[in-house]
Amino acid sequence: MTTPPAPPLRLVVRRRGREGQPLEFSLGVPSDLACVGDAVELVALQCRAGPLSMRRLAFNLRTALAEALTNAITYGSRRDPAKVVQVRVEVTVQAVVIRVQDVGDGFDPAAVPDPTVPANVAKEDGRGLFVLRHLVDQVTFNPKGNVICLTLRAG
């Protein structure tokens, strides 16, 4: 199977987390859903030196970031690969903070229906933000709704 080469991911490591100093890096992700998995691995690798347990790094961080990226690419960029989703990560001894920004119009997270009510549970979609909220310690949005910020505290 010859899949067309996916557009490149661009990682910029701004501060290197030596000796308890914070690590800070950003990743530019072209808005192609085929990039989500690789972007998640790249971020997870960089966070290995951080304060999260292997289990939370391998499951909570990866799943939550995949949800945030999928939404940013799908709704923010409408899957236009020329549009780049910006991920900024700060790793300190206290927490990993991940900020995902898209160039879309944003949305109102309060208006998203609960996917676990009986009328919704058998639907195919609509679980992303719900899952995400359960996997990280804090989720915040900017007022416009095109920036989501995930905090995973140490442990």
Partner: protein, 111 residues
């Protein structure tokens, strides 16, 4: 390979998910299972013993496959979920939609 299908002697198709089931590869899983369904298979087990994580679109594809298989008079079962994945199914209430068994062997035997 992300997905490997094998048909056991009882005609149950067991699909192993290696690594992750996410937005980038769920279509591949869907296609493989639908092909087997088209080919006459009715009993399916998805084995998550070697799965790192599943995102919500991965969950969505399971919901959709389960429906399609049931429409053909078949059944889809899940197995091999670790604690984190089990919790994911519980909090989304998807554990009420699927038969979830501990191991793929149990899931096959239960058909």
């Amino acid at each position: 390979m992300s997905f490997n299908l094998r048909k056991d002697s009882k005609g149950v198709v067991v699909v192993g998910v290696d690594g992750q089931l996410i937005v980038g590869n769920r279509q591949e899983l869907k296609q493989k299972v639908l092909d087997a369904l088209e080919g006459g298979a009715k009993k399916f087990v998805i084995d998550f013993s070697r799965t790192g994580y599943i995102d919500s679109s991965g969950l969505g594809v399971l919901v959709s496959l389960s429906k399609k298989i049931r429409e053909q008079g078949g059944d889809l079962r899940l197995a091999g979920l670790n604690e984190d994945l089990q919790t994911l199914f519980e909090l989304t209430k998807l554990d009420t939609l699927f038969s979830i068994l501990k191991t793929p062997e149990e899931a096959v035997a239960a058909f």
